[in-house]
């Protein structure tokens, strides 16, 4: 039994790989490449699937694969011309093959009528197409195209040499909302740098007085001079999704002026903090005038661009090893133990206070480094490219477009970006939903698009990129954008916001994530399944991520999912609550404050508010909320953690002590116990004791306040 099962699993894993190869091959054919080898490769993949499926008596899969193979064989032997129409049929057949494989894997049946239709289409090809194209449809000359894009990039090399180059001066001052929405000036500037040569001046004139910095208001602004042959629209496009979130002016220059701007007096103090300094020469870092004049191929490309480079083309596939996930899991746990053990030993050695024993200290330090190396290496094993996931999305786009009578194409960027396997798996459902949503609600119908002067076929961009310890996935469409008026009206009619509420555009956009919000007035077959974007948000949050939206009327909508690289470790802040050590995820903490006595106001008998920068936020006594006895403390000053929560916005958590920040290995509570409200997981500290990882959202939720009572009732019910 077990042997049969493991063979079966192996088959499905292989089938998944083969389907990935198929998708790659078809993408190459669609991009205009004509190579017999591609057709052969498709044929072989389908044949392999058919052969293995036969061994497991997967009847539907075998019969469909067989018919598909017959058509491919006809193409292979030049009996059938590979017309765009036929290519589309091949593509749809691969989609159907994936559907059948998935159904077989989950032991589900499939819709017989779709299968019959798919078979009928293939049959029609064979009957109608045998006499077409007796000559070779794959001219050898076209093979040259295969490796033709390497020199292309060099064309950008020297923007100034181009007669058509234009120079623009861009003044760019981000508003706080720009950062709130997860945009990053450095990336925008890096995107600009891809268009041509740029020079960037950091304007520090609005830098606040250092003694009382208001950290909410961004102080930096930039003057960027770009020389590019790409034209004004391309430059504007870079800023497309931050429009309204910043002050922006783009003016064309007529007389090129290559002189760098004068040095700024604040240069030395600030340049080290400039977030986007990919400065190759350390000496240059002392100059405030950031000269980002690298030519595009040399410039540090944004991760998305680097990853989108077709790494597989032209290079031999790397040898791989298939390993049972259980074994990796075991290795992973052992490494987690190793890390804990290492920090225990380090702590003990520290406690001994050995002085001048440099040997010991050096050994402990190299042990630490080795342990981290091993941990990183093991995590890399679990990392998987998002490519298979993205390929599945292209199928979703085709299905969704077909289902809604729209035309849509998908452009994928950064498919080679790697994320933890678990994250990839758990991202599949929310991403499917969002991509469907983009086609269904984001894109307009072909007629409407034509009226708006757009290409009748809409485009969905799906991109993944690493960004400082997290993975950012964006789903962008070039549709009509959110109808804010309608969104607000729906939200009011459903009682989600009070009537006459004055909401900013970004706030209105975010309403669509609220539970119980559904935009489609008529429930469509695709997205209107009773689940809304709130499910997506919950799923992403369960992965420790965030999801955001930006929308521009008439131009499109962009969803951003920001995820941690791994679910195995977490950056946390070690705190004490009523004598118990706990971890608060750094991602939730905005700041720690010791408020002045006048900043805390009493409301009612036992509620307190903290006044911070003109706002009032509720103070929640963590010890009380968790039902722990209050700690005796000789420190009368309050220590507050400002956290951002979904349920109640910004809240201040009253804690007893903040120890330090550290990376902790996440241990689930579910395996041996179950979910505990207000606690997301646990970790083992250096002394071997367990510390709980708090879920600030769960704790501040109003339902949590009555928890003590509920707990008491449950005990009563048990006895």
């Amino acid at each position: 039994m077990a042997g049969q099962d493991s063979f079966r699993n192996l088959f499905f894993e292989e089938a998944e790989d083969l389907l990935g190869t198929l998708a790659d091959d078809i993408a190459r054919l669609k991009s205009g490449e004509r190579d017999e080898e591609i057709v052969h490769s498709i044929f072989r993949a389908v044949h392999s699937i058919k052969g293995s499926a036969g061994a497991f008596a997967l009847k539907h899969l075998v019969s469909f694969a067989h018919r598909f193979e017959t058509v491919l064989d006809a193409v292979r032997s030049d009996r059938l011309a590979l017309t765009p129409d036929l290519l589309r049929i091949v593509e749809r057949s691969v989609d159907h093959l994936s559907v059948l494989t998935e159904a077989a894997r989950n032991d589900r049946g499939t819709d017989q009528s779709t299968s019959d239709a798919a078979l009928a289409v293939l049959d029609a090809c064979l009957e109608g197409g045998v006499d077409v194209g007796s000559g070779s449809t794959l001219p050898m000359a076209e093979r040259v195209l295969v490796f033709s894009f390497a020199p292309l990039a060099l064309d950008f090399d020297d923007g100034e040499a181009k007669p058509s180059a234009q120079a623009f001066t861009i003044r760019f001052r981000p508003h706080p909302a720009l950062y709130d929405n997860g945009h990053e000036p450095a990336l925008l500037i890096a995107n600009l740098a891809e268009l041509g040569s740029i020079e960037t001046d950091l304007d520090l004139s609005t830098l606040p007085d250092w003694s009382s910095p208001d950290i909410i208001e961004p102080a930096f602004s930039w003057v960027i001079r770009i020389e590019t042959s790409a034209g004004l629209p391309a430059v504007q496009e870079v800023f497309e999704f931050v429009e309204g979130l910043c002050e922006l002016s783009i003016s064309e220059e007529h007389a090129p002026d290559a002189l760098p701007a004068p040095f700024d007096t604040f240069a030395d103090a600030v340049s080290a903090d400039v977030p986007f300094s990919p400065v190759p020469d350390p000496a240059a870092a002392r100059i405030a005038t950031m000269k980002l004049t690298e030519s595009p191929p040399v410039a540090p490309p944004s991760p998305a661009v680097a990853a989108s480079a077709p790494a597989s083309d032209g290079t031999a596939p790397q040898p791989t090893l298939r390993v049972d996930l259980d074994r990796i899991e075991r290795l992973f746990n052992a490494v987690g133990e190793l890390i804990i053990n290492q920090s225990m030993i380090a702590q003990r050695v520290d406690d001994l206070q050995i002085q001048f024993d440099t040997d010991m200290t050096a050994h402990v330090e190299s042990y630490r480094l080795l342990a981290r190396d091993i941990q990183e290496a093991v995590m890399a094993i679990r990392a998987q490219p998002v490519k298979p996931l993205f390929q599945r999305m292209s199928r979703i786009v085709r299905e969704a477009a077909e289902g809604t009578g729209k035309q849509a194409q998908i452009i994928m960027l950064g498919e080679a970006t790697e994320i933890d396997k678990t994250v990839v798996e758990r991202l599949a459902d929310p991403l499917t939903h969002m991509v469907r949503n983009s086609v269904d609600h984001g894109l307009e119908s072909p007629e409407d698009r034509r009226i708006a002067g757009k290409d009748p076929a809409g485009t969905i961009w799906l991109s993944a990129a690493h960004r400082s310890g997290s993975v950012v996935i964006t789903i962008r469409d070039d549709g009509a954008g959110l109808n804010r008026e309608k969104v607000l009206k729906v939200a009011v009619s459903k009682g989600l916001v009070p009537e006459g509420a004055d909401l900013s555009e970004a706030e209105i956009d975010n309403l669509i994530f609220l539970p119980g919000f559904s935009t489609a007035s008529a429930t469509s077959l695709l997205s209107g399944r009773g689940v809304g974007l709130d499910v997506v948000r919950t799923a992403v949050q369960a992965l420790g991520g965030r999801v955001g939206i930006t929308s521009r009327p008439g131009k499109g909508t962009e969803f951003t999912i920001c995820l941690p690289l791994t679910l195995a470790v977490l950056d946390g802040m070690l705190i004490s609550v009523g004598g118990t050590s706990m971890i608060v995820p750094i991602s939730a903490v905005l700041e720690t404050i010791r408020p002045l006595p006048g900043d805390v106001q009493q409301i009612g008998p036992d509620e307190r508010l903290l006044s911070i920068r003109g706002r009032y936020v509720p103070i929640i006594d963590l010890a009380e909320a968790l039902g722990f006895p209050p700690a005796e403390t000789d420190d009368p000053a309050m220590l507050l953690l400002l956290v951002e929560t979904e349920a109640r916005g910004t809240c201040a958590l009253l804690v007893n002590r903040v120890h330090d920040q550290r990376q902790v290995v996440i241990k689930g509570l579910e395996g041996n116990y179950g979910q505990v409200a207000g606690v997301s997981a646990a970790t083992v500290l250096g002394d071997g004791q367990i510390a709980l990882i708090l879920d600030p959202d769960g704790i501040v939720a109003p339902s949590y306040l009555g928890k003590s009572l509920a707990g008491a009732q449950r005990v009563a019910a048990l006895t």
Partner: protein, 153 residues
């Protein structure tokens, strides 16, 4: 593997004391017996859930057996031990007062608990065994654990 509770023939039971009463547990559930370990309290847990402890990197819940049977919390004592038990894939700890012996008896000599028992005793005890110095209650571990797990929200 067969479910320990249903197999016939001779079985071995770990006999221990909790809340002043004698209990016993099929030895095939028992993984190890540990002295007192550092236990981290869980927020709003029922009285019988003492918290979680670290067992070689695994986070396992610890229950106070005495509280589970409504006999009040076990008094702190350095001689208290935590019995690590495994039920399926789930590992738990049971805080008990001293383990006394391991007995080997015929499965058939386990008597059904009389129907007069009510409350937690009724649902957590699968039978009774006579011992030289009285009687021991055989714990139905799956039932005991099932009732102690948090209710999913």
């Amino acid at each position: 593997m067969q479910d320990p509770a249903t197999s016939l023939g001779e079985i071995e039971l770990v006999v221990f004391c909790s809340g002043g009463q004698s209990f016993s547990l099929d030895i095939r559930y028992v993984r190890e017996i540990r002295g007192q370990s550092a236990i981290t309290q869980l927020p709003h847990a029922p009285e019988e859930v003492l918290g979680v402890m670290n067992l070689r990197g695994a986070v396992i819940p610890v229950f106070d057996l005495s509280s589970c049977f409504g006999l009040g919390p076990t008094a702190a004592d350095p001689r208290n031990v935590i019995m690590i038990a495994m039920n399926g894939a789930r590992m738990i700890g049971l805080l008990v007062q001293a383990v006394s012996e391991i007995v080997s008896i015929q499965h058939s000599s386990i008597q059904d608990a009389p129907a007069m028992l009510g409350g937690p005793a009724q649902s957590h005890i699968s039978g009774l065994i006579p011992l030289a110095d009285g009687m021991s209650r055989v714990i139905d571990l799956p039932a005991l654990i099932q009732r102690r797990l948090p209710v999913p929200a």
